[in-house]
Symmetry: C2
Subunit: 325 residues, 2 copies
Amino acid sequence: MKVNTTSKVKNKPILSNKATDVSNGVNVLVVGSVAYDTIQTPSGKRDNILGGSAVYFAYGASFFSPVSLVSVVGRDFSFEEELELLKARNVDLRGLVIKKGATFKWAGRYVGDMCYAETISHSLGVFGKFQPIIPSYYRNIPYVFLANGSPKLQKKILDQIKKPKLVFADTMNYWIENEKRALLHLIEQIDGLIVNNDEVRLLTGMYHTITAAREILKWGPQILIIKKGEHGALLVTKDDFFAVPGYPIEVVRDPTGAGDSFAGGMMGYLAKIDSPSLPNLKKAILHGNVVASFTIEDFGLEKLKQLSPKQVEERYKKLLGMMRL
Amino acid sequence: MKVNTTSKVKNKPILSNKATDVSNGVNVLVVGSVAYDTIQTPSGKRDNILGGSAVYFAYGASFFSPVSLVSVVGRDFSFEEELELLKARNVDLRGLVIKKGATFKWAGRYVGDMCYAETISHSLGVFGKFQPIIPSYYRNIPYVFLANGSPKLQKKILDQIKKPKLVFADTMNYWIENEKRALLHLIEQIDGLIVNNDEVRLLTGMYHTITAAREILKWGPQILIIKKGEHGALLVTKDDFFAVPGYPIEVVRDPTGAGDSFAGGMMGYLAKIDSPSLPNLKKAILHGNVVASFTIEDFGLEKLKQLSPKQVEERYKKLLGMMRL
């Protein structure tokens, strides 16, 4: 099933108030990295903390629905406590495999407005040879997030899933520059692509974001989400725009994981509601935006670890208030 | 009279649908520059086109209410046609004086994301010695905009106005760095300050925008508007936030004048309604945002010159639609 984004139904208030009626929702599958991050920002530095796209996504989605995670770590991995916390939040870690070798390590810094991370060093370790096999008991999961990675690999993962309801993928400049053909092939088969302004331009060779966004929608996906960091996000569909302002944060300590926890919050909410429609997608984006706004308030997962679904809901209501005339 | 921004009335729908009932509104006074601009952007170059804060403001406000302009030009000034167009839009130019000397000239370029203009050269000419005398017939104008300029001068202008209803001021990093004491003195006496993120930080020495914004509100003004370029704007009052997303523009050709035409659209709309309240201020900010979104679609005043109030209203409705869940 696909999200119906045509103008015919866009104002139809499908399930508009069901968010609080559904307690569990269906499953979300994420395939991505689990990593050791070393992060420097104007607020300080942290060495070898738990990170990675799959982890941030899982934390973000866990406020709303059960999550199944597929990733790989090395034998040096030692974040048992954090993983127990994920399990306690209904994150299924049976898809996390341990291989001989080292866990993915990334070191980066953010300066000034912290719009971009500057990579100081990275070492892919076992993640570099990752050929994920989706366990049979994960293959019917309806909501699927392909975190940033080689598009060839993303495609291989997707091919293992049976009739997903909704597939979103993330990518980055490296894949656009080095594996564009494979990426275009993947894009044809997904429902939604999550990118930033620069990636939209790089992908299309078009300077103006909106023109470029419309071009990408011709290639297959029905949904394009343009992340704008602290400035929020923009949803572009064939017939519609939805502009999400950034939630004004008092203290931005570390932007790492903002994009993945945004995607997690969004897809977790969609899985909770389990009825893809444009109004629900808009609410999902706002929930993702709220989760990401918490993520960046502290280093790594510090903020998300102590956060309750109630706090997420409270900030969601505040954000709605800020958007109200 | 001051805008009531307290939480007691913030949800009271004062005049919420009166925008279209008021045809003329009261006057807005702008004191600022009239200039020759030479502009380079990724979209091209224009030499010696009409610009200046007062001109952009007046064009922006003229969609909603009569405007009175106070500024100075040199004897080299030759934009009669453009000024006739302003007059036709109910802009009173009796306050525009001609002095011996040259008109203010500015040359700048925008690169990449065009977030900032890089000044290539500027020559203040007669604007450098500008000591504006507000004509007696302007001194009762209720809505006043003090465009970017020396805060000492802004203060002198304000002192000549009799009981204004609402005074907004703009400033820039130069004045914060070189005339901070005078600026703080001015800020005490105005209702609203319009700044960008960097200026908020520079003014307070605080890194985090929201904390800094709250600090500025302690100094006197009830309203702080943080411009975020193509990412929209944020309204901060003691008890409230209002986040305006950027209107997604297909083609951004030249950001010059965005801030001043935003201020013009906002104050022009407030003057049209002539009933300051928080809901009206929010609508005014959205109207300013819409006017600015047109400004940046073409060089200088090209877009605003051919624009009708109906087109502004249509885009305003589109923007509302994009913000709706």
